[in-house]
Symmetry: C2
Subunit: 651 residues, 2 copies
């Protein structure tokens, strides 16, 4: 007999904490239909409990019911498609089990927003929409800003929270999660072969109930580490056999396992390059091993030289993804998905779109966002990233006359998760909007970030219009505010090395990570045009020309692409330096504005939530002042050029 895990539930339900509604349509009093699948049953359960929380007490009625009702009609073959349509003064939800689940959550959300007859017919844009957890087996989370892992505690754990997590994911349209860190350390290695199958299976089964597939990160050198082989060479038959045998066992034990995620040849992780093999040879070997079980392989493209000599001005880390992977287009098996960070470097607050996204005509690609706010305020600063994701998804790669947008050129989407075992899941209460928004956007990339923000606010904080307007306003302004007081104009990496929080303008300058600005007292930045590292040439002709031209380059990316003197004239006539000074002074003031706006919500919110967010704003303002002063002082010391407006720069 298995011991029962008892966990005290001590966490909020975020947007699933349905509130009492003053009126609900008549049809919410009855539900007709008894779904057969686990997901369909979950849909029914969600409707029953959700409507009850909103103030209705739905009755489960028989097929002959003629009064207005919610009819659940399960169609096994319709994959994830969900339909809600009018039906005899009520609504009918149609779909497979998963379709019913998405339909049920959609209906609940719309009812909570005051929409009485939300007709809807929708299929997700991508078959894989998932979160990547960087949870370690010991319970810590790499770049985790919301407590410890709820998936691991020395070993995998399944609890009531696992179920609620699955509910949260399904309710915003997500259908997968990879539960362990791509840097596979310690006992996480054992997920493949160790004694954890029982726990994994329980997690997997709990997730499956809500249509969420389980993925795990594996180490490319597992055949050595776990199998006792002398090599992990992908062309070695013993290695291939080891992966086949191990996968067969694992997929048999864990029915809801979707596949593996691999970080290979990246930041010290093992990979095929160790054996003189290509990324394609490495990925295909693994993909072949899991293919018989319907497994998919997510292969990260974050391959670059992380031991660069700062003296080397030829190597440009931004080029690495394309240099490694573009020539391999078409060389990957069908069940391989290349996982590509949204920008060419690493989740900075401003980067151009990764040019690799335009080079994979014959290969599945998956965009990787990061809602864990590693470089964007670490969930102590508010930074709503959904508008940024939207910009990227809407971006035209200019390779094709049609279907040219990023969103039309990818096959899957994932985000590095921002969750932990904190009461509010995401550390900063407002950071939950990134989780919700990423979910909605990965279902439908045409969704509007402002509408998502407003919807999230109503679901989370209730429908007080002042709250909705204020929260939406804070969220929508937050990314630009963060950008203004932190790293100027796309240059990136002026954060404290290691922890990546707070300013350190020269912190990475002489380090091995390929992230340099090479500022002198005259100039700053790395030239990435044809006269520099040539990175711009990785884009289509039009974009290449645009980025290479100092005049045409979008100003917010000017220092990503170019090395410029401080007196470079910006389009509005200010100097580059003055623009940076201005941004930093304004950025702080605008952050203050966000904080003040929040303060005005006192009395309108749960005091605990109000206070938690207010504390976070205090820290944000402290840190914003630090960014402002450090960046301004550093530039002032370099240039000795004062602020034109005479504002205070510390000498």
């Amino acid at each position: 007999m298995q011991p029962k895990v008892v966990i005290f539930v001590d966490y909020s339900l975020l947007w699933l904490d349905w509130r009492k509604k003053s009126e609900l349509p008549e049809y919410t009093k009855r539900i007709v239909g008894r779904p057969a699948t686990r997901q369909g049953k979950a849909a029914l359960r969600e409707l029953l409990s959700g409507l009850k929380a909103m103030g209705s007490e739905p009755e489960e009625c028989g097929k002959g019911e003629t009064r207005p009702a919610i009819h659940l009609t399960e169609h096994p073959g319709s994959d994830e498609k969900a339909t809600i349509r009018r039906c005899c003064d009520g609504l009918e939800i149609l779909g497979s089990g998963r379709g019913l689940l998405y339909g049920a959550f959609h209906l609940l959300r719309r009812l909570a927003l005051g929409d009485s007859f939300p007709e809807w017919e929708s299929s997700p844009a991508y078959p894989i929409r998932m979160l990547d957890h960087w949870d370690n087996a010991d319970g810590s989370i790499e770049r985790g800003y919301a407590g410890h892992s709820f998936f691991f505690n020395g070993k995998p754990v399944c609890s009531e929270r696992t179920r609620d997590y699955a509910r949260l994911l399904a309710s915003c349209g997500l259908n997968g999660c990879c539960i362990n860190n791509v840097n596979v350390h310690g006992s996480a290695l054992m997920l493949l072969t160790g004694g954890y199958q029982r726990e994994l299976k329980r997690i997997s089964s709990t997730l499956a109930e809500y249509g969420v597939s389980l993925w795990i990160s594996v180490s490319f050198s597992s055949p050595i580490e776990l199998g006792g082989l002398q090599t992990a060479d992908p062309l070695d038959p013993a290695v291939q056999q080891w992966w086949k045998d191990t996968s067969a066992r694992l997929f048999a034990e864990i029915p809801n396992l979707a596949g593996f995620l691999v970080k290979a040849d990246s930041e010290g992780r093992p990979g095929p390059h160790t054996y003189g093999r290509t990324q394609a040879e490495g990925a295909n070997m693994l993909a072949e091993a899991i293919e018989p079980f319907g497994g998919k392989l997510l292969w990260r493209c974050f391959v670059y030289n992380c031991t660069q000599d700062w003296r080397d001005t030829k190597t440009d880390r931004a080029r690495a993804q394309c240099d490694h992977f573009a020539p391999l287009d078409g060389k990957f098996r069908e069940n391989v998905y290349l996982q590509i960070k949204n920008g060419p470097v690493d989740f900075q607050i401003r980067e151009p779109v990764s040019p690799l996204l335009g080079h994979l005509e014959h290969t599945n690609s998956m965009i990787e966002f990061q809602i864990a706010q590693e470089y964007t305020g670490q969930q102590r600063h508010v930074c709503y990233l959904v508008p940024m994701f939207k910009e990227i998804l809407d971006f035209h790669l200019e390779h094709k006359p049609e279907r040219d947008k990023v969103s039309e050129n990818i096959s899957a989407a994932c985000a590095v998760s921002n969750t932990g075992d904190d009461f509010n899941w995401t550390g900063h209460d407002l950071a939950a909007a990134n989780l919700f928004g990423f979910g909605l956007l990965s279902w439908d990339p045409t969704a509007d970030p402002a509408e998502i923000a407003a919807e999230w606010s109503v679901l989370t904080f209730g429908d007080d219009p002042m709250v909705t307007e204020t929260v939406t306003g804070i969220l929508m302004r937050s990314r630009n505010v963060y950008e203004k007081y932190t790293v100027p104009l796309g240059i990136g990496w002026m954060c404290v090395p290691g922890n990546h929080y707070g300013p350190s303008p020269e912190g990475y300058e002489y380090d091995r990570w390929g992230t340099y600005h090479r500022a002198t007292h005259k100039e700053i930045g790395v030239e990435r045009g044809p006269g520099g590292t040539g990175f711009t040439e990785q884009y289509s002709t039009g974009l290449a020309a645009k980025y290479a031209s100092i005049e045409d380059c979008p100003e917010e990316l000017l220092l990503f692409f170019h090395r410029l003197p401080y007196d470079h004239p910006m389009k509005d006539g200010r100097t580059l330096l003055q623009r940076i000074y201005d941004d930093h002074f304004e950025g702080y003031e605008e952050a203050k504005g966000l904080s003040d706006a929040w303060d005005r919500l006192g009395g309108r919110l749960d005091p605990a939530v109000y206070d938690r967010v207010r504390d976070r704003f205090r820290e944000q303002l402290r840190c914003a002042a630090e960014w402002r002063d450090v960046i301004n002082t550093w530039l002032y010391r370099l240039t000795l050029i004062p602020d034109e407006k005479g504002r205070r720069i510390y000498p």
Copy 2:
């Protein structure tokens, strides 16, 4: 019954690994005298085994022996004084048990050096000459560069190594060690009251055999942490009573316990300031508690604001020691020793002497050196610190017409230990010279660092003159070489934050530690003269004037005391900037010279030693090139002034 601890001896004996001598004086064949004390017996044992190793087989003879012999004459009352004098064609060693021990080691050392009749009469300069270990209870060592602790492994451990460690200390004149980190964490707290008394007593007893006293670091807030009191206020009677009771128990259990070392109100450690009490009130309360047992209290003066705002240009960390402690002179009990770092900041490669050393006319002071090479190459770079210690001990404070030197104004000496459980004890084989040299110098501050180096080399590597000359040359040049390629002219702190290894010129610039250079593209440094922070005023009139004057200030300290433009003319006509460039190019070349010199010893040394040191030199050269290039590039980017000699500075 106590379980017997079995440890495999897997370490070298450093300079105690006596070598076979081709000839030894006749008297070494016989030893007369049977000391009664444990230390006297240890002296006899060392002579028997040491002479045997050198090739003699001494016979223990009766009192009537007339042939040449070593006569051991124990005089209980003579404290640590040791005398060696001629006696009927042999030698007589006179002293208390400890005196005999120092005499025996002195004789063995001199015989090993080829001195057949080493007459000697010596008392140590200070009654307390000790090492401070920063060993943590979990076995790690804060700033440890030679493996793990041999004192702790989750709890205190006593092994054969403990005994050999005591032998090493006694053989170079040291008589105490504080075994645990001044930052008292985790189970180290329990040394006072926990279940560790048995282990502590074994360590203590083992050390006592070689005249080495045991000290422990304690947390000022132990009454709260261990005693369950609500306060650690030194004026609270319950707190006082707790310390009295605890001390009575501990001193009764551990006869060889000498006292406590306390880091209070420093870098987050608790202390009397928490309760609005002075440092004297805090120290005296503890001192009173241990006074009945002959206990002494070592109270660190490393008290400063470690949460400074970098924008604050008024606060000067260098002032903190004097500001806190000078006004308290005469307020401390007789068994309190103020432990004062050699410089006003923190063990940088070049600092002026701490001015506090000139302000304690009526208070015991103990100088604190650091042979753990935290800022001086971390035992991967060779950096023989004994010449620096000697400079400091010989420094005239200019407060008094006589007995004005630092060495004449202190009552005790300690050094932060550089040992760990590495085979060679100190990581870098050549770093053992710092341990040996600190011991000899703390016994006799008039000793000559070059002679110490030569002696250490012969004892360690044998008497091949080329080896001795080479090793002595490497050691004697090493400090200036390290200084040249690292931080210029006393400015300090351009190391990587946190680990303190390698260059990061702006790493501490916007941090909270009070360590700034505030370099602009015109000037660098903090002005500490009367027009600046006024730090120079903490010295006697003459020194204050000298340091305040840009002309009279020693050039090696120029950027410690002054803010200067890069084109400031140095005494030899070079600009300040060119001097820094030159130092860095030369420093690397000179490091290469040291390394080459070592390479020429191939075949003359134990190959394992030779290879170990060669590997360290490789790392030193890599790191020296990094320092050279980073500092030069950083200054070049700031100034855009090229090297006059056209050597390569990376842009």
